[in-house]
């Protein structure tokens, strides 16, 4: 198993009497894309801000690539951050601003790097535009560009696609996918479908507490259950249950057949093929099949 790039131990942050984050511990493996999930006020942004060294924890500890983020200069060159609510300084043209950020990071050719990352977020035309002339979506992508400067090993992205139109959001997701493997990425988002698609693992927070931290496969039960959307016909539940490796089968609302299986004993593709074949033999028509439950369902169940 790879080494943890990020480790949070018993992390807490109190604002007066309010416990924004309470005794949270989890690890992010190197090269993983990790999701921070939770409803509003769950403590995602607070946890995120502590990992970036913006907020001091009330208790607990954080290690980013073995370094304490509150040690002066500890994160330099190691971390790129897209903060959610930080506004780009308006008095700078975008190109000059990114070049300045590159110089602060000590990059040898800051201007060339600024051009490269701006190309990567598909905004080279904004080079001479002032930050206050950018639309919300453009500003978000410029902020994303600065997080990618110098290809830092750890990248924190707080709500990277919030407020973006679907096409641009898809291009941002594609950038995040490209980072996978070479960078450790932490993504905080409300878009659970996006996180399910992008992340290897996630932490689910609620009211400041960690309610679950696991791989996406474990969270969604990908290795333990699948669902079939039935269109027409009578589902032979008893026959489905009798299939080897099947633990349970039940019909959920909206004609969804949920089958729980022993992931250790049987491969998902094998059990799905057998069950779907049985349904076809019994003239049951179906629309789609998906592994596990939707992340959204899991989150709603936990929070």
């Amino acid at each position: 198993m790879s080494q943890p790039a990020i480790r949070l131990e018993k992390l807490s942050k109190h604002f007066g009497l309010k416990r924004a984050v309470d005794d949270v511990s989890f690890e992010v493996q190197e090269g993983n894309t990790y999701g921070l999930i939770g409803p509003n006020g769950a403590g995602k942004t607070t946890t995120f801000s502590m990992m970036c060294g913006y907020l001091f924890p009330t208790a607990g500890s954080i290690r980013i690539l073995g370094a304490d983020p509150f040690e002066p200069g500890a994160l330099k060159g190691k971390v790129g951050v897209l903060p959610q609510d930080a506004i780009l300084p308006p008095q700078w043209p975008v190109g000059a601003l990114l070049t300045y950020f590159g110089q602060l990071s000590g990059l040898p050719n800051a201007e060339a790097e600024a051009k490269r990352v701006l190309e990567r977020v598909q905004l080279p035309e904004t080079w001479n535009l002032y930050a206050n002339q950018l639309s919300h979506g453009m500003a978000k992508r410029v902020s994303m560009a600065q997080a990618l400067m110098g290809s830092p090993p750890v990248i924190f992205l707080d709500e990277p696609t919030a407020g973006l139109d679907p096409k641009i959001a898809a291009s941002v997701r594609s950038i995040i996918r490209e980072l996978k493997g070479n960078h450790t990425v932490v993504v905080s988002s409300h878009n659970l479908q996006e996180l399910e698609e992008l992340c290897d693992a996630s932490a689910i927070l609620d009211k400041g507490k960690l309610v679950s931290a696991a791989t996406m496969a474990d969270l969604t039960g990908r290795l333990a259950e699948f669902r079939v959307q039935i269109a027409k016909g009578e589902v032979p539940l008893l026959e489905v249950k009798a299939q080897s490796g099947v633990k349970d089968a039940r019909l959920e609302p909206n004609k969804v057949l949920c089958v729980t299986f022993d992931g250790q004993a049987v491969e998902p593709e094998e059990i799905i093929t057998r069950v779907v074949g049985l349904l076809a033999q019994r003239n049951v028509l179906f629309l789609t099949v998906w592994l596990g439950k939707k992340l959204e369902e899991k989150v709603l169940q936990l929070t």
Binding site: S49, Y54, V81, P89, F101, Q103, L104
Partner: protein
């Protein structure tokens, strides 16, 4: 690969970037115009009053049949000037002798400018940190630069911009004074330009650091500006109160001095030592030691203000 960057390189990068940003914004031009307008207005008012007084003195001399070019009369005039300055500026003999070479207009305009400088500095730099803290743009910076280096870089950028503004306005002041006073010899022009620049620059360093401190402890630029101005009035009030009381036990010992007798003895006299403004007087002193001590005190205050600013930013959530 992780780049190796020293603290000095970090400070230098912040300094360059912030100076470019400031010169790119219109604020520097507005501040320069404001500074020049203040100097211009002061020169006009003080110059007018001075010319009126000179005309009256010449008229009186003429009616009394006195030759103003007579050396004896010149000496008497200088004595009168010294007496006047001893009441309104300082009672230090050495300093009074030194100030005789300086046109009164220039001296008064310079003194007024010194009062204006801390306010100008507050206007210039009130949002240097607060402007990053409020909108949280500081979050883009602190993952790249140590918080302490960020403050130092920004402070040095403010020092650079202010030095440029100061140079322009001081030269303007001296040039106008030279035009108005034929007696202001070329050699004195050079010496006094340098002395005025040096003293106002050293004085400004402490106030620049104060502005950095105010801007580092609050998130709102407007609040930082108000706080800065309130502290300035506090500094001036401390100096005023302290300097207008006599130290306990000094009035009796000094009973020949009429001015000293007018003052009341009080421990409040010691308050002047807590005000950086109190030490500004000696920045024009001809004795190098007096100047050096005053300069060191100003730098000391600057270091204290910067240290507090560092502490505030280091310990705060961003």
């Amino acid at each position: 690969m992780q780049p190796r960057v020293t603290d000095l390189q970090e400070i230098g990068a912040v300094w360059r970037g912030e100076t470019v940003r400031a010169t790119r914004s219109g604020r520097v031009v507005v501040l320069l115009l404001l500074f020049m307008m203040f100097v211009g207005l002061s020169l006009t008012i003080v110059g007018f009053l001075s010319s009126q007084l000179s005309a009256k003195a010449e008229e009186q001399a003429k009616s009394a049949g006195v030759d103003l070019n007579d050396e004896k009369v010149k000496t008497q005039f200088n004595e009168g000037k010294k007496q006047f300055l001893s009441v309104v500026i300082t009672d230090d003999e050495e300093m009074l002798d030194s100030l005789l070479a300086l046109p009164v207009v220039l001296l008064f305009v310079f003194k007024l400018t010194l009062r204006f400088v801390p306010l100008l500095i507050a206007l210039m730099g009130f949002d240097q940190m607060a402007g990053e803290l409020g909108p949280k743009s500081i979050r883009f910076l602190v993952v790249r630069v140590k918080r302490t280096n960020l403050i130092l870089g920004k402070f040095l950028s403010q020092v650079t911009i202010f030095a440029a503004l100061l140079a322009v306005c001081t030269i303007l002041m001296v040039v106008v004074a030279r035009i108005l006073n034929d007696d202001f010899a070329a050699k004195d022009v050079v010496i006094w330009t340098l002395r005025l620049l040096a003293s106002s620059f050293v004085l400004a360093v402490a106030y620049l650091a104060l502005t950095t401190l105010c801007s580092s402890i609050v998130k709102s630029g407007a609040v930082a500006l108000v706080l800065n101005i309130m502290i300035l009035f506090g500094i001036w009030a401390l100096a005023f109160v302290g300097e207008n009381f006599a130290f306990p036990g000094t009035v009796k010992a000094d009973d020949g001095n009429l001015l000293a007798l007018l003052r009341t003895e009080s421990w409040a006299a010691y308050l002047q030592y807590f005000s950086v403004w109190h030490y500004g007087q000696d920045l024009l002193h001809p004795a190098p030691l007096r100047f050096a001590v005053a300069a060191l005190v100003h730098l000391g205050f600057a270091l204290v203000f910067l240290g507090l600013a560092q502490l505030a930013l280091k310990k705060r959530d961003l």
